[in-house]
């Protein structure tokens, strides 16, 4: 394990840890009001590590939905990660399968975004481990703290911190956008298609993100091929 790469990963993952802080805290709090014990709530964050799916599971538990349906719903919400990890695989250095199987556990929307937008061709496993560990740590610790203190942040802080993850996505996207029409088009088209699904409610969030991402990525590849030919 390369220590410098690992430390660089920790540094790159710190903005995820900050962004997870209010979300995990609220999850812990909601889990408590749902009737989960400290250990039950924290265990879900330890074993599942999927923000949206965990939130949804709480509301489904409250609604008395069958556990099998909750599991199925979790799968549907997380199907989009097939696409992300396939894309990430192109970016990562080749390594032993068991190592990749290990860090695959920590690929979320956020860790994917941080990893996939790094400069340079092949990312090291140590770097990925750093990004994932600090994000994962924040998710678990603040779930537990949210349950323990059983209260939320002051309203103004809660409200202002809800921008954190989106600000991170913007901060990752903008440097690549500068003077790069392709990147701008990719983000813009995916955002527009996703907004369309959002307002028409034709697809649930997980599917909408996946379909709009794929549509934009394929369309832009098709357009740039045509440009090369002409």
């Amino acid at each position: 394990m390369d220590r410098r790469e690992f430390a660089a990963g920790i540094k790159a993952g710190t903005s995820i840890a900050i962004g997870y802080f209010p979300i995990a805290l609220t999850f812990g709090l909601l889990a408590k009001t749902t009737g989960l014990s400290l250990w039950e709530a924290t265990a879900m964050s330890i074993f599942v590590f999927a923000g949206a799916a965990q939130y949804i599971s709480l509301s489904l538990i409250t609604a008395g939905v069958a556990p099998a349906v909750i599991v199925l719903n979790t799968f549907i919400v997380n199907i989009r990660h097939f696409l992300m990890t396939a894309a990430l695989n192109e970016k990562m250095q080749p390594d032993d399968r068991w190592k990749k199987a290990l860090y695959a556990f920590g690929i979320t929307d956020e860790s994917f975004s941080v990893l996939a937008t790094q400069k340079g061709n092949k990312l090291s496993t140590a770097f990925a481990a750093g990004v994932i560990l600090i994000a994962y740590g924040s998710w678990i610790i603040f779930t537990a703290i949210g349950h323990l203190i059983g209260a939320n942040l002051p309203q103004f802080l809660q409200a202002s911190m809800s921008i954190a993850l989106y600000a991170m996505f913007v901060g990752l996207l903008v440097p690549s956008m500068r003077g790069n029409r392709k990147v701008i088009s990719l983000a813009l088209i995916a955002g527009l298609v996703n907004s369309f699904f959002y307002f028409t409610e034709w697809l649930s969030t997980g599917w909408a993100i996946m379909v709009s991402t794929l549509a934009s990525a394929i369309f832009i590849e098709w357009v740039s091929r045509k440009e090369v030919k002409e």
Binding site: T14, S15, I18, G19, G35, L36, S37, E40, F47, V48, A50, S57, T74, F75, N78, H81, A86, A87, N89, E90, M92, P94, D95, R97, K100, A101, Y103, F105, D109, F112, A159, S160, I163, A164, Y166, A167, M168, F169, V170, G171, L172, L173, V174, K182, V183, A187, I189, A190, G191, V193, N194, S195, I209, S212, T213, L214, S216, I220, E221, S224
Partner: protein, 101 residues
């Protein structure tokens, strides 16, 4: 909670892990067709677009949080600031805004 809770957590863990692990392990050492590689290289920027829009506008019931937050994030990012500054700066802008409303 009873035993069903732990079976559910186990099930959730498995179905969350599968989409994360299969591509990373199965595709290891495989060369994909050029066009598929190009599409996969497009994915990160498309994902970011879809993750940001339209959700950034709906972070709070009061839509002004989203609008001001989005302007702050893009504004700070365009100055060339690093990601951490973009995150902390956007939070600070919204914290100031929420004191005034």
């Amino acid at each position: 909670m009873e035993a069903w809770y732990w079976w559910m957590v186990l099930g959730m863990a498995v179905v969350t892990y599968i989409p994360r692990a299969i591509p990373l392990t199965f595709l290891e050492g495989r060369e994909l067709p050029e066009s598929v590689q190009n599409i996969l290289r497009n994915i990160p920027y498309a994902v970011l677009g879809a993750l940001i829009f339209p959700a950034i506008f709906f972070i709070q019931e009061n839509i002004w949080f989203g609008i001001i937050g989005a302007i702050a994030a893009f504004g700070i990012a365009f100055t060339g600031a690093n990601v951490m500054i973009v995150v902390l700066g956007s939070i600070a802008v919204l914290a100031i805004y929420s004191i005034f409303i």
